[in-house]
Amino acid sequence: MTTIVQVTGLSKRFGRFTAVDDASFSIEENRIYGLLGRNGAGKTTIMQLLTGQDFPTEGEISVFGNRPAENAAVLQNVCFIKESQRYPDDFTAKHVFEAAPWFFPNWDSEFAARLISDFRLPLKRRIKKLSRGQTSAVGVIVGLASRAPLTFFDEPYLGLDAVARQTFYDRLLEDYAEHPRTVVLSTHLIDEVANLLEHVIVIDDGKIIIDSDADALRGSATTVAGLASAVDGFVAGREVLHRETIGGFASVTVGPLDAAARASAAEQGLELSPVSLQQLIVRTTTGSESEWEDKS
């Protein structure tokens, strides 16, 4: 697999605040990546650095073999869709889609037209006057129809309702299957996109804490539940990721269990259950669970 993005020792500081702290990772082509983390963890900053919209304080970035900043040859292959995208005053959605092919060599206007009707987007209304969901749809449509070999979606679907979000995921999968490209989705709503992701990169307070294949990650933890005493006995000596207790019961998340351990747990009457990607990531990062909830 070809590596198309290589990041080494990347840091970004704003005054005394460190948004990205010594991050190193790589992105391989034609996969769907999840860039996950709490709000404010550094996801957007990293994407801004990768797309040349901001400049690193330290470290090296290579996209398609070159530094992305101010590099037109690289940037024409990159599409960065963010929820906070500002559009020129008085621009309508129609203007945006008119201008898109000038910047994205792979733009597919037929695909865009289908998406416009899928999302029921009014074309001639000024973007200022569109609802939040409609504005998000504009971004999503650009990202999808651009067919840019490297496409970033920075939570652009926050404004979309659940139905529209599902439409987005469906269209993304469909198009990705027909025309593979590298997609990076950043979100704090992990469970919704969990099944779409092949590889997961988790950022916490600017540092990369997880960089793993999604399936491998899912298999890397199990929840053991039952009477507190039995559970504690079973998990003694194991790496504990998370513990919850209610009265005399305990539910503990531990690392992977082999067949023998699973059999032993079953014999002791302990219940083993899988850990969802969201639970796993929430439990390995700092902060409370509520920070991962849908606040839109």
Partner: protein
């Protein structure tokens, strides 16, 4: 291993497609209401207003001698000055709003700046042509049938067509570039930067005035203006125009489209 998908993968385009500069140029022409129709509408409105005022003034005078005298005063009109200032505002707005958009679409700052500046040059030529046309129209109608002067005021709008074009076009470009420069200052350093830039400019102007005073140069300056006329003045203004243009380029190089 079986191929994962049946579709064809999109590899990165390594050759540079049609120039992004042209793409940005086109971007500045997408929304013609703000940059063309509204300024022209307002210009038209001002003209109509002036005509009304002239008509009103002249209606109250009977003696032809009085009329002539008053009409002579008309030539000191500054009404068309509005359009120049408006261009400054248009440029500031354009930088502020199209910059994050263009960057969001993957343009480089360099291409954005060059494309936008080129667009403003084209706009300047366009407006220069329109104003030149209006100045001739004014002459041919004898001052809109009232002896009014808006586009052929005493300072400009006289002389052969290429001079008029140069004066109008160059004047508009000068204000555009000021707007562009201040626009980039705002994009990069926001409100604080803008304030600082204004203060700096004020200091420079006051300083220049002080310099002229100290060297007793006002007379000489006045004489120079009288000799240079509009054409010479605008030609001289080309230097600060270029300077603003260059300054804007370097200011934008490290600007970020923070919302």
């Amino acid at each position: 291993m079986t191929a994962i998908t049946t579709g064809s993968s999109i590899g990165p385009t390594t050759t540079l497609g049609p120039s992004r500069i042209v793409s940005v140029l086109k971007l500045q022409f997408v929304n013609r209401w703000t940059t063309v129709w509204i300024p022209l509408l307002i210009l038209g409105a001002i003209l109509v207003m002036n005509i009304a005022i002239w008509a009103l003034i002249l209606a109250n005078l009977d003696a032809s001698a009085d009329r002539a005298e008053v009409q002579e005063g008309f030539q000191y009109s500054g009404a068309s000055g509005y359009i120049f200032v408006y261009m400054l505002v248009v440029a500031v707005q354009a930088m502020n709003l199209t910059f994050p958009f263009a960057l969001g679409f993957g343009s480089t700052r360099r291409d954005y700046y060059l494309g936008s500046s080129l667009a403003f040059v084209l706009y300047s030529v366009g407006y220069g042509a329109i104003l030149t046309l209006l100045s001739y129209l004014e002459e041919w109608t004898g001052g809109w049938f009232l002896g009014g002067r808006m586009f052929t005021a005493v300072y400009f709008g006289n002389g052969p067509w290429f001079e008029r074009l140069f004066v109008f076009g160059g004047g508009v470009l000068f204000f555009f570039m000021i707007g562009v420069a201040f626009g980039t200052v705002y994009v990069r350093w926001k409100a604080r930067g803008l304030t600082a830039a204004f203060v700096l400019l004020a200091i420079l102007l006051v300083g220049a005035a002080a310099l002229v005073s100290v060297t007793n140069g006002w007379e000489a300056l006045g004489a120079w203006f009288a000799q240079a006329q509009a054409v010479g003045t605008v030609a001289a203004l080309l230097i600060p125009t270029a300077l603003f243009g260059i300054a804007g380029f370097f200011i934008l190089r490290r600007a970020t489209p923070k919302s």
